[in-house]
């Protein structure tokens, strides 16, 4: 028997591995022990602090200056005892709770401790799902908008961070041939679609007073999910470009087209009630009155929505011709335009027009409404 035969026989034994949950728990305990030893080193320096702690246990009042040391030690003891109750409470905490940061920290620790890429992606998907459920609970709760605002902000921040991290972990297109990469990309693509749909739904469920503040943040999160899904889909398309079986990719692209169409529909509903009008440019002067801003907004959004719809039809046509790469590229263009329309719908229009250089301070535009009435006034400066 040659050495290579023995190596081959030994190969299956390489798969023997410890339980992933045990590894995470072991790491946490190790990290805690390391921290304890560091603290012990500090505490050992002053025996009088320890005397004060024991004095408390003997029903004597601790000196006020020693209360922090007492709290720290009891905290370590609680955690050393397993901290089961604390960990359980943290696991079920919602945004706004004092234990919510611990919940997030424990999840991140679990993610870092996982060293298989499949494990990491599975955990990231679970974490994103958890954030979406929390977002749903907070948005649909009957709390007053003021309380809701902080909680929604907290969970949206976490969603953005998690999505950005997952997005950065997706390998570049050059690695598309690896089976593991493609499997990871498929999982991420599915998760991204679900995330984007949920975020869009939650955005529409926000009370109106919160939409102005938080709508933009949620749009940003939906956009990150969309970008992540598109990047993942790009990897799948590239890896299977030679494959005969394109039905799966076609279905995934179709799913994303449906999400894009839904987004256009939602934007359209926002401007339905506003009457259409045209903007006439009279030489170099532009007049806008405050009550005409919704009209301008509606026109811009409708224009962009139309363009996005055209591109989506082109993408569908490319799909029918089995040109996946072209379909995805066209869909990406449509997505960019939809995002622009969403931003106009959610944000301060005057500020956008200034940023885009369409309006300058003291510039004027003539607007003809359906009744042919001209309204004119000086555009306020951006800071007003």
């Amino acid at each position: 028997m040659e050495e290579k035969d023995i190596k081959k026989l030994l190969e299956p034994l390489k798969k023997i591995a410890p339980d992933e949950n045990w590894m995470i728990s072991c790491r946490s305990k190790l990290a805690f022990r390391m921290e304890m030893e560091r603290k012990k080193h500090i505490l050992d320096k002053d025996l009088s602090i320890l005397d004060g702690l024991f004095a408390f246990l003997g029903n004597k009042s601790p000196k006020p200056t020693l209360k922090w040391a007492y709290a720290l030690s009891i905290g370590f003891l609680v955690i050393a005892a397993g901290g089961g109750a604390t960990a359980w409470a943290a696991k079920h905490s919602l945004p706004g709770s004092a234990l919510y940061p611990m919940k997030i920290a424990l999840e991140k620790l679990r993610l870092e401790a996982s060293f298989s890429s499949e494990g990491k992606i599975k955990l990231q998907t679970e974490m994103t799902n958890a954030r979406l459920q929390e977002l749903q609970k907070v948005v649909l709760s009957s709390e007053n908008p003021e309380k809701k605002k902080g909680k929604v902000e907290q969970v949206v921040n976490e969603i953005n961070q998690q999505l950005n991290k997952a997005n950065n972990q997706l390998p570049g297109m050059g690695d598309a041939e690896s089976q593991k990469t493609v499997a990871a990309a498929k999982a991420i693509s599915e998760s991204a679609v679900k995330t984007e749909k949920m975020i869009s739904q939650m955005k529409e469920s926000l009370p109106s007073e919160l939409k102005e503040n938080l709508g933009g943040r949620l749009t940003e999160a939906a956009e990150t999910a969309d970008r992540m899904g598109t990047k993942a889909l790009g990897i799948i398309v590239r890896s299977q470009i030679q494959s005969e079986d394109s039905s799966e990719i076609s279905a995934r692209i179709m799913e994303r087209i449906e999400v894009a169409e839904e987004r256009i529909k939602v934007i359209g509903q926002k401007v339905e009630s506003v009457s259409s009008s045209t903007i006439a440019d009279n030489s170099s002067s532009v007049n806008i009155s405050a009550d005409k801003l919704p009209v301008i907004r509606a026109v811009l959004i409708k224009d962009q929505s139309e363009k996005a719809r055209e591109l989506i039809e082109q993408a569908k046509s490319s799909l029918e011709d089995n040109d996946m790469a072209q379909a995805l590229e066209t869909l990406n263009l449509a997505r960019t335009i939809i995002l622009g329309a969403e931003k106009i719908a959610d944000s301060d229009l005057v500020k956008i027009l200034f940023e885009e250089g369409v309006l300058k301070p003291d510039s004027k535009v003539n607007i003809e409404s359906n009744e042919g009435i001209n309204a004119s006034s000086t555009v306020p400066a951006a800071n007003d």
């Binding site: 030994l10 299956p12 190790l30």
Partner: protein
């Protein structure tokens, strides 16, 4: 210079699975392997974090040395204690149960065939003396370099190559039986 906590936890992440597997093959018990693995890393940390402690150039080799010593201590202690219920339960565990779930989803005949192969090689490995077992685990499963193995065993590289050659010969002999 003492190692930082972050650096040490990175060492843990990279090495924990291999150390666990090495210990598992030597003690044939999941519970014991878990306990000893935890102890290995704690002991390593206590040594590496000490200011003015031993200067360590190859942290991985150091971890394996600590592991080896702890396994020896375990057997010394074990000889003094009666067998526990845990050990009786663990000894019934088939190594095939430790394989990833995906491997268990193949058809029954293939599973049975793989299980027999794995059990056979594991039994053969277990039949070797401890030095031979260890060198085969380190070289072919953990893929350590000869120089690293030499450092762990505190032997010269030439001696390690000879030992490896003898270990393979022994393993061949056991597999032929």
């Amino acid at each position: 210079m003492a190692i930082s906590e972050t650096q040490f936890l990175e060492l843990y992440d990279v090495n924990v699975a291999k150390i666990y597997r090495y210990i598992y093959f030597r003690v044939n018990s999941e519970t014991t392997a878990q306990d000893l693995t935890s102890e290995v890393f704690l002991k390593c940390w206590q040594n590496l974090s000490k200011d003015g402690g031993k200067e360590v150039k190859n942290h991985r080799a150091f971890i394996y040395q600590i592991t080896r010593n702890l396994i020896v201590d375990f057997y010394r202690q074990k000889d003094k204690l009666p067998i526990s219920l845990e050990e009786i339960a663990d000894s019934g565990n088939k190594i095939a149960d430790k394989l990833p779930i995906a491997d268990r989803n193949n058809d029954l005949q293939e599973i049975a065939s793989k299980t027999l192969d794995v059990e056979r090689i594991k039994k053969a490995l277990g039949g070797l003396n401890s030095d031979y077992q260890e060198i085969i685990i380190w070289r072919y499963l953990d893929e350590l370099e000869i120089a690293e193995i030499a450092e762990i065993m505190e032997k010269k590289e030439g001696a390690v190559r000879t030992l490896l050659s003898r270990a393979l010969a022994d393993l061949r002999e056991v597999l032929r039986q």
